[in-house]
């Protein structure tokens, strides 16, 4: 009798423990009955928590559905699969939109951060400052142009010494103090960030682009000096003659 009592109390205790678990069943069955309204709820709700709750409810739904019986189960599964498909299709564009918005926020934050770091500039073109290496390069190009015009140009192309000089500058650049790198915050960088290109790739590309710009500037100074010297020599040569 004591063992019977114990088993009875145990079953009672188990029943009481099961009660909170069994409580969702009527709620679940209510959701099953409601069916469409649940779908509508998931479709109209903008809150992720609502979707997560619904997912959790769906999990409960699937776990408890087996207990309901065969007839109800197959119908229930078809319905919930249909619901899932429609929800997935609705979730995909929303996910893309969320992704886009998060990238936009990151790009704006980065832009604001960079704008706060750099000093205020009135003119947009005043971004480049001439450091010692830059001045050294320009003076070197001008002097080389004079030397090439005076001695070398009869023997080979004028661009060959220029290329040699640029290679020498690449090696010499590490011996000069480097100034702070200023990243220009432009519409282009913001657009590149928005299109998903990592910031490191953008900064490297901008760095390469600025180096190419420096080489082009050197070439312009070199060529201008060369032509100027050529014309001066021609003028003074004719004057002498």
């Amino acid at each position: 009798s004591s063992s019977d009592d114990e088993s009875h109390t145990e079953s009672k205790l188990q029943h009481e423990q099961d009660k909170p678990n069994s409580l969702p069943i009527p709620a679940v069955s209510k959701r099953i009955v409601l069916g469409d309204s649940v779908c509508n709820l998931s479709g109209t709700s903008d809150h992720a928590s609502g979707i997560i709750e619904l997912k959790g409810d769906k999990k409960d739904l699937f776990s408890k559905a087996s207990e309901l019986g065969n007839d109800g189960t197959s119908e229930l599964r078809h319905r919930s699969r249909g619901d899932l498909v429609s929800e997935a299709s609705q979730r995909a564009p929303r996910h893309r939109l969320d992704q886009y918005l998060s990238r936009f926020d990151e790009a704006m934050k980065l832009r604001h951060q960079l704008m706060n770091e750099k000093p205020n500039q009135e003119n947009g073109n005043a971004g480049e400052e001439f450091d010692s290496f830059r001045i050294f390069r320009l003076v070197g190009c001008a002097l080389l142009a004079i030397g090439v015009r005076a001695f070398v140009c009869k023997y080979l192309s004028i661009f060959a010494p220029f290329l040699t000089l640029q290679l020498a500058y690449m090696g010499l650049s590490k011996y000069f103090p480097k100034g702070e790198k200023k990243m220009k915050t432009t519409v282009l960088t913001a657009a590149l960030l928005l299109s998903g290109i990592p910031a490191e790739v953008i900064s490297r590309s901008m760095d390469t682009y600025s180096k190419m710009g420096d080489i082009f500037t050197d070439l312009c100074v070199y060529f201008f000096t060369f032509i100027f010297c050529h014309e001066l020599l021609g003028f003074f040569g004719s004057e002498v003659l």
């Binding site: 661009f159 100074v221 201008f224």
Partner: protein
């Protein structure tokens, strides 16, 4: 207006706040009103100057572009100078564009080079 505010401030220092509070407060209100008016005027003038500067910049850029286009149009077939073509190898065609003269320096290339050099020379003054 600035002189007027300065005079009123000087007058304010002569008035005792304890003895003539009403007059002091009235004058202080007047000073604040005039200061606000002055700030508004200064803002308006700054905005106007910025607008004028912007218009002058635009006009300057348009004139510069028009000058370049007219020079290219007029001298597109005449080289600026002629050098031995082997000096400019391998870029003689690019340098000679649009003249087509071997060893010549085209107006387009020369304008680009001059533009850059002038920008560098004017950079310390900007």
């Amino acid at each position: 207006m600035r002189a007027e505010i300065q005079n009123m401030k000087q007058e304010l220092t002569t008035i005792s706040m304890m003895d003539e509070f009403a007059r002091y407060a009235r004058l202080e209100r007047k000073i604040n009103k005039m200061t606000d008016k002055l700030k508004t005027h200064v803002k308006a003038r700054t905005a106007q100057l910025a607008k004028i500067k912007w218009v002058i910049n635009i006009v300057f850029y348009i004139l510069q572009a028009a000058l370049m286009i007219s020079l290219i149009w007029k001298y597109y077939s005449e080289p600026v100078t002629i050098l031995p073509s082997k000096w400019l190898a391998p870029m003689e065609r690019l340098v000679a564009f649009p003249t087509g003269v071997a060893g010549g320096v085209g107006i387009t290339c020369w304008l680009v080079v001059c533009n850059k050099v002038v920008a560098i020379m004017l950079h310390p003054f900007s």
